[in-house]
């Protein structure tokens, strides 16, 4: 598997960016939901509401950093063609 994309396939860098964002977005939805569900005196999994707010905000800034790198990768790297069978109207 190549590091960069080619005309047909996504490279390792694009795949890494994709899955790291999947993980971070999952954490963000979980932390975001938890922090507004908790009261300031409650804990969940040993973490306080404050902890969840702090981690949610911090991970968000990490997401923004990855977003910038990812947009650069999508802009300056080759974007592979969609597979043939995705072009059929029935699969659109």
């Amino acid at each position: 598997m190549a590091l960069l994309n080619d005309s047909q396939n996504y490279g390792a860098l694009t795949k890494f960016f994709h899955w790291i964002i999947v993980a971070l977005f999952a954490l963000q939805y979980a932390a975001g939901y938890t922090m507004v569900a908790l009261s300031s005196k409650e804990t969940a999994l040993g973490l306080t509401q404050d902890n969840y707010y702090n981690w949610h905000k911090s991970i968000g800034l990490v997401v923004l950093a990855f977003a910038i790198l990812r947009l650069a990768n999508r802009t300056f790297n080759t974007l592979p063609a969609l597979p043939r069978r995705c072009h059929r109207p029935s699969a659109a």
């Binding site: 396939n9 939805y29 800034l61 069978r85």
Partner: protein
């Protein structure tokens, strides 16, 4: 079509952190970055910015959740019903997508139908 749709998901990666940042900075709550350092607030308190950013953050989170569900739905449909092996394009290792290689490798630069 699909690549344009993906651009919306890229937009989500920017809208959520930027609106969230403006929300907590304009609201005066700030960011205790990984509970190590308190980040400087470059914009100061602003009720208007806080309100706009807050609702952008909240409404976008639900819109994006729907878009992510659709994204997942497309992959599941390709994987389980159409059996195009679409998922292998994004999983680590070589793509094992059947049905795309012969025509595509013969004419790799045909992107004219990529709307």
């Amino acid at each position: 079509m699909m690549h344009h749709y993906e651009n919306l998901l890229y937009l989500a990666m920017f809208i959520m952190p930027i609106s969230g940042y403006l929300y907590v900075m304009a609201g005066g709550n700030g960011v205790h970055f990984f509970e190590v350092v308190h980040l400087h607030n470059p914009i100061g308190k602003s009720d208007n910015i806080e309100l706009a950013a807050k609702w952008t953050h909240i409404v976008s989170s639900y819109v994006i959740l729907i878009a992510l569900a659709a994204h997942l739905g497309v992959v599941l449909r390709h994987q389980l019903i159409l059996k195009t092996g679409l998922l292998s394009r994004m999983t680590p290792g070589r793509s094992t997508q059947p049905g795309t290689q012969p025509s595509d490798t013969a004419n790799p630069l045909t992107n004219d139908d990529q709307l």
